[in-house]
Point group: C2
C-alpha cells in the first residue's frame, strides 16, 4: 500500500522507510531537512517505490496538495524537533516542528479520509517521575521540557482526531533511541569531544544519569509488528528496553571502542545534563511485551553497537 | 497589582475582571471579540483601573508589544474557543483560539518574566470516563473533542513553561459553567427555541445526559481564593459542584420559569448531544474542597439562577 513517512529523512524515519519498502509498500517521504539529512535517504535514489517531497509540514495548503495527489492509505508521523537542548532556548521550534506539524497532518488526514496513523511520542510526556516505574496509565503527566509539552499536546490532538474521524492510531512513547544515522545526543557528543581532544572528557551532571537506550532496529521491528491492527481509536504503548545505561558507562564504552585508556572524566556536577532533562526513568513495559514484542538488544549492547556505527561513519580507526 | 485577563470580554473572563477590580487590582483585558462581546465589558467604561486591547492573541509580535508596555505581574488566561460544536466542523478554530493563544501568552511571559499564571482548563481533557469519579490523577487522558484535545495540549505547554521558567501556575479544570452573560450551550439554546416556538421543545439525545453545572460566581470565588499562592510549578484542581442536572431537568426548569405548561419534548434519541460531547461525568472534588472552597449553589440552583438571568437579559415576562 502507499504510505507517508513524515520526517522520513531523519534518523528513525529513514530506518522506518527502509523497513516499509522491504515489506513491499510504496513510500512517500516529506521532510524539510530541519534535522533530517539528504544523506539519510541517498541510498534510496533510483528506488521506484520511493518518492520524496522537500516540504515544511506546517504549510497546510502545500501538504494538502500532496495528500490530494498521493492518496495515502497510512501516515507515519516522525517529524519533530528532537533536540531538546535547542528548543530550550527557543520554544517556537517545538511549537512549529513538533505540535503544528501534527496538527497539519491530522487536518489532511481528516480532509482526505486517511484512517491509519502512527505517531512517535516520547517518555518526556511523563515529566520527572522519580522512583516510579512509568506505565501508560501513570498520572499526572507533567512534562518539564518544551519538547515533552508539545508531544503531549500532539497526543491530545491525536486522541480527539482519532475519535472524531474513526481513525486507527498507534502511539509509541519512545525512550532514547540510538543506532546508525544518529545525529545528536550524548553518544554523538562524547565521540566528537574525544575526536577533537582525546586528553580528557567533559561530562554534564555527575554521570549517574541513567536511561534505557533502545536500538533503532528493535524499535522499527515493534512499529512494523503492531501497525495496521485495525483497532479503532488510540492504542498507546511505552516502548523500550528493561535495562539502562549510565552516562559514565557510555563514556567507558566509547573510550574502549576508541582504544583510549585512562582518560580523565571531568564532571560538571549536579543532577542532570541541562534544565528540562529527565535524569532517570524506568518504563513499565508489560503492555508491549504482551504483544509478543521484546527488544533484542540490551541498553548496553545498543550503546556498543551505536558507538561502532558512529565511529565507522566518521572513518575512525582504533589503532590500539 | 497589574494583571492581564486574556479573553476578558468573554462570559467567565468578564466576571473575573469584575472581581479583580473589586479587589483593587489594575486590570488589562485583551480580547478579539471572537466569542467575547463589547456588551460584556461596557459596564467598565470610565473605570480608571481598566484598560482594553482589541487584539488576536495569536499575533505574537503584537502581544509582545503589549507585554513590554504594560509589565504585568500576573496573567489570567481565559481566551479559547468554547463552542465545541463549532470547532467540530473546523478544528482550525481550536488550533488557533485555544492552543496557539496559550503558546503566545506563555512566550510573552517567558520573555518578560511574568511568573504568576492562571489557566482555564476543562473536564474535556479526560474524555469519556463512564462510571469513574474523575480525579486530577485519573489516567489515561483521552479527549474526544478538538476542544479537549487542544486544552490538554495547552496544559502540556504550561507544564513545561512553568518548570523551565519557575512560574507559579494555577490550573482549574472547569466543568460546565453557567450564569449571567452566558452566550451558548443547552440553556441558551432551549430558551431561544422556546422563545421562537413555545409549542414544543426539540432535545438532542435522550435527555438523560447529566452534568454538574457550576454557577459562575462560585467559580470566580475559587479563582480569587486560590490565586497567588506563591507555589512554584503547576497546581492543578478539578473545580465543580457535587450535584448534577439532566438535560430533561434543565428543560423542566426553563418551562417553569417561562410559565409554559405541558410543552411536549421531542427527543432526537441517542447517547449524547453531538459527536465529541461527553454525555455524563462526575468529578472527584476532594482536592479543591481541602482548600476550604466549596460551591455555594447546587447544580439545579445554578441552572435556575441562570435561566432567570437569561430571561431577564432578553426582557422576557412570565405572564402566568
Amino acid at each position: 500500500m502507499k504510505v507517508l513517512v513524515a520526517g522520513g529523512a531523519g534518523f528513525i524515519g529513514s530506518h522506518l522507510i527502509d523497513a516499509l519498502l522491504k515489506e513491499g509498500n510504496e513510500v512517500v517521504c516529506i521532510d524539510n531537512f530541519f534535522i533530517g539529512t539528504k544523506k539519510n535517504i541517498e541510498h534510496l535514489e533510483g528506488e521506484e517505490r520511493f518518492r520524496f517531497y522537500e516540504q515544511d509540514l506546517c504549510d497546510l495548503e502545500k501538504v494538502k496538495e500532496i495528500f490530494k495527489k498521493e492518496q495515502f492509505s497510512a501516515v507515519f508521523h516522525l517529524a519533530a524537533n528532537s533536540d531538546i537542548q535547542a528548543s530550550a532556548a527557543n520554544p517556537m521550534i517545538e511549537y512549529q516542528n513538533t505540535y503544528s506539524t501534527t496538527f497539519c497532518l491530522l487536518e489532511c488526514m481528516r480532509i482526505y479520509r486517511v484512517k491509519q496513523f502512527f505517531f512517535a511520542s516520547t517518555s518526556a510526556v511523563y515529566g520527572e517521575k522519580m522512583g516510579v516505574e512509568v506505565g501508560e496509565d501513570t498520572a499526572v503527566l507533567e512534562p518539564i521540557s518544551y519538547y515533552g509539552g508539545c508531544k503531549l499536546g500532539a497526543e491530545g490532538l491525536i486522541s480527539s482526531y482519532s475519535y472524531m474521524n474513526d481513525m486507527e492510531t498507534l502511539i509509541f512513547r519512545f525512550p532514547n533511541v540510538i543506532g546508525p544515522r544518529l545525529t545528536h545526543g550524548v553518544i554523538f557528543d562524547f565521540v566528537n569531544r574525544l575526536l577533537a581532544d582525546p586528553t580528557h572528557l567533559r561530562i554534564l551532571g555527575d554521570g549517574t544519569q541513567s536511561k534505557p537506550y533502545l536500538y533503532v532496529t528493535d524499535l522499527i521491528q515493534a512499529i512494523m509488528q503492531l501497525k495496521g491492527s485495525g483497532k479503532k481509536g488510540v492504542s498507546l504503548y511505552n516502548v523500550g528496553v528493561e535495562t539502562q545505561t549510565s552516562v559514565t558507562k557510555i563514556a567507558d564504552i566509547i573510550c574502549e571502542k576508541m582504544g583510549l585508556v585512562g582518560i580523565p572524566y571531568q564532571y560538571t556536577g549536579g543532577r542532570g545534563g541541562w534544565k528540562g532533562d529527565v535524569p532517570k526513568f524506568q518504563y513499565n513495559l508489560e503492555k508491549i511485551h504482551q504483544t509478543g514484542w521484546k527488544a533484542t538488544y540490551s541498553s548496553n549492547e545498543a550503546v556498543e553497537k551505536t558507538v561502532e556505527a558512529v565511529l565507522l561513519a566518521v572513518g575512525y580507526k582504533n589503532t590500539r
